[in-house]
């Protein structure tokens, strides 16, 4: 057959070009990852290896490297937790069948930790090998979510309050009801984290979130629903409220103390306040999941980060309230501004206004989640 084929490509050209494309596609991921592979590949250290799953922006680079140097334990660190519910939905199947999820330590928020402990997905910590656990601040000993204190150690704790952009509000905000000020219509954000948002709603209605049940919460839900339907509330956000706050899309929103502290460094128009009616305090806790058998590496990780010097170093980066007692002195040397920050060391008066959301049984939690989802539109 003389002359070109109708498409203009001969069989030889087709095979050559196809082969080159396939070869390129096959090699590309390997080439892309080899650059970073040298940096992150760690074979097991002399002390073994620990796999940690955490929230984003919750640790500084120096501590990660120094951990391996000091303890001899290799580290695989993943910032895969973005939301407690998504975390649970992602891993619950393997955990319920006692299969490894690829991580030894996970750090969900306390109420999710409680759920995991009650479902039996968590092992008792090797506290005998964690002498620094004695540095745990008294406020967090034998907490609501882990009464015996044997299953968890807090990683970082923080406060939920009102974050606002003073350029948009034009005034200082002091009360939860400021969120319902008609002047800010359509410029208010609330968190999709039910316990944080409903905790503040309950406090604004004079209900104690520590002992709340669904019947008591109805007026608080009604208040939130009215605000959402009328367009007062613009969006239910996850951690992404920060962009809207900085851009001025939100005049005020419910937010977390450490995030605002980090933003404050760059942007002096932002403020964070624990309202007069009160705010929420929460903890993200370290758990040792089944069926991991890495007792020594897990103990090494927890012991290392409960050293006050290390805890102070982490605090300068994350700007949250450390559960380790006695870091203020260390912090004064590292970062004097942080040592004075009321967001990292709230005074007694503010601490007295902080509440923890009460424990909900499975049925109550379902009612709360359903009602909340209904208001959030989903």
């Amino acid at each position: 057959m003389t002359g070109s084929t109708p498409s203009g490509v001969t069989r030889r050209e087709f095979i050559t070009r196809g082969g080159a494309t396939l070869g390129g596609l096959a090699l590309a991921p390997a080439l892309l990852s080899s650059g970073s592979a040298f940096a992150t590949a760690q074979t097991d250290g002399p002390g073994g290896k620990v796999n940690v799953l955490n929230w984003p922006l919750y640790i500084d680079k120096k501590s990660k490297k120094d951990f391996t140097k000091t303890t001899g334990v290799a580290l695989k660190y993943n910032e895969g937790i973005n939301d407690n519910n998504e975390f649970f939905a992602k891993y619950q199947e393997e955990l319920s069948q006692d299969r490894s999820i690829g991580f030894d330590i996970v750090m969900p928020t306390s109420w999710m930790a409680q759920r995991l402990i009650e479902l039996g997905y968590v092992q008792k910590l090797p506290l005998g090998d964690i002498p620094n656990a004695a540095n745990l601040s008294p406020t967090f000993q034998n907490p609501l979510w882990d009464p015996t204190g044997e299953y968890s150690l807090p990683w970082q704790t923080g406060m939920t309050g009102i974050a606002y952009n003073i350029k948009e509000t034009g005034r200082e905000l002091t009360s939860i009801n400021d969120l319902f000020d008609k002047k800010f219509k359509g410029k208010i954000g609330v968190l999709s984290e039910m316990r944080d948002t409903m905790g503040l709603m309950a406090l604004s209605e004079g209900i104690d979130p520590g002992t709340i049940d669904f019947a008591q919460a109805k007026p608080a839900f009604k208040k939130l629903e009215k605000a959402s339907d009328s367009g007062q509330i613009r969006r239910f956000t996850g951690n992404d409220y920060q962009d809207d706050l900085v851009a001025g899309n939100f005049a005020a929103c419910i937010g977390w103390s450490g995030d605002v502290a980090q933003l404050l460094i760059e942007n002096d128009k932002l403020r964070f306040v624990i309202p007069d009616e009160g705010g929420m305090k929460w903890a993200d806790t370290m758990l040792w999941v089944t069926p991991s058998d890495k007792s020594a590496p897990v103990a090494a990780w927890m012991n290392y980060f409960y050293d006050p010097a290390v805890a102070a170093r982490v605090a300068t980066y994350v700007q949250y309230i450390s559960p380790v007692a006695g870091i203020q002195a260390e912090l004064a040397e590292l970062d004097p501004a942080a040592a004075e920050s009321p967001l990292i060391f709230p005074d007694e008066e503010v601490q007295a206004r902080l509440h923890t959301f009460g424990t909900l049984d499975s049925k109550q939690e379902e009612q709360f989640d359903n009602r909340f989802a209904e208001i959030a539109g989903a």
Binding site: A89, L119, G231, R235, N370, A378
Partner: protein, 292 residues
């Protein structure tokens, strides 16, 4: 000669099935079997909230009626948004495809490339970029406020307009390319012939160009409407609690409420409604042209 024709005949009879089998096996394994599981899940009950995989199959048809009564508003809203998106995409995409096909000349490939290039960025990033573009303090909202389209304190984010805008933008190439393909096949001599026969340009368009373009419009509409119905990304970033679509509901049911039966039931309801809508649409516009 006769012998080989006989042998060739038997092989030829099975050849089509042989060629089809990889595709059919793929469909069965990765579409029909999971669909069967989904159907089974949608008819189950869930005794323990925190072990959502532990389901009891119980012919629970109430899952469907409960889902419709609880989320009827979001289902309706999804179809309205997807419908408006499709109409807008045709309104914007058709003129663009027409210009590229008939007036593109040597720039045809470049123009098509420009249409496709934004798709090299992921869907999520494009939507988040729109969040910045439509920001309250951004230039788009400023201009619209000045010329009076938006009120004094009007905004585009957290409104249905924002969500529909995002949907239209994201699905526009799916509309432009099929329409372009069907317009490109038109022989320009046909239009010239119509003009020779004393037709006005408008009539020539209606009688000559448009019938050829219909298969492209149908294909583009299907590619736009069906994914837009199930979209959840645009509503999360550009919308508000009052613009949630059925995709957001399914995500919430699956990840937060851990209610797999309801999520599965919603999936099936969506599939059935879309299938009916598409069949009606094809019937109205005529399917013979789809293959022609």
């Amino acid at each position: 000669m006769a012998g080989t024709a006989q042998q060739g005949g038997r092989r030829r009879r099975f050849a089509p099935y042989g060629l089809l089998s990889p595709g059919v096996i793929w469909l069965i394994l990765f579409f029909l079997v999971p669909l069967g599981y989904l159907l089974r899940t949608s008819l189950s009950t869930r005794p323990n909230r925190f072990v959502p995989n532990d389901l009891d199959f119980a012919w629970e048809w109430s899952n469907y009626s409960d889902a419709i009564s609880q989320f009827g508003e979001q289902i309706q809203r999804s179809f309205v948004y997807a419908g408006i998106t499709t109409v807008l995409a045709i309104a914007i995409g058709f003129p663009l495809a027409y210009v590229i096909a008939f007036r593109g000349g040597k720039y045809k490939n470049l123009l098509l490339g420009l249409v496709v290039v934004p798709f090299f960025t992921t869907y999520l990033i494009r939507t988040i970029a729109w969040k910045t573009i439509l920001a309250d303090s951004g230039i788009v909202v400023d201009v619209l406020r000045t010329i009076g389209v938006l009120g004094e304190n009007g905004r585009l984010l957290a409104t249905p307009a924002g969500v529909i805008g995002g949907l239209t933008y994201n699905f526009l190439p799916f509309m432009i390319l099929p329409i372009y393909v069907s317009l490109e096949k038109i022989d320009p001599d046909l239009v010239a012939a119509a003009k020779d026969l004393y037709s006005t340009p408008g009539r020539a368009f209606r009688k000559v160009v448009f019938p050829f373009a219909i298969p492209g419009v149908i294909a583009g509409s299907l590619l736009t409407f069906i994914p837009a119905c199930g979209d959840f990304v645009n509503s999360v970033f550009l919308g508000s609690p009052r613009t949630t679509m059925i995709g957001n509901v399914v995500q919430n049911q699956f990840l937060v409420q851990l209610d797999y039966p309801t999520a599965a039931a919603l999936g099936f309801i969506l599939m059935v409604i879309i299938t009916i809508a598409v069949l009606l649409y094809a019937r109205v516009l005529g399917t013979e042209d789809l293959t022609g």
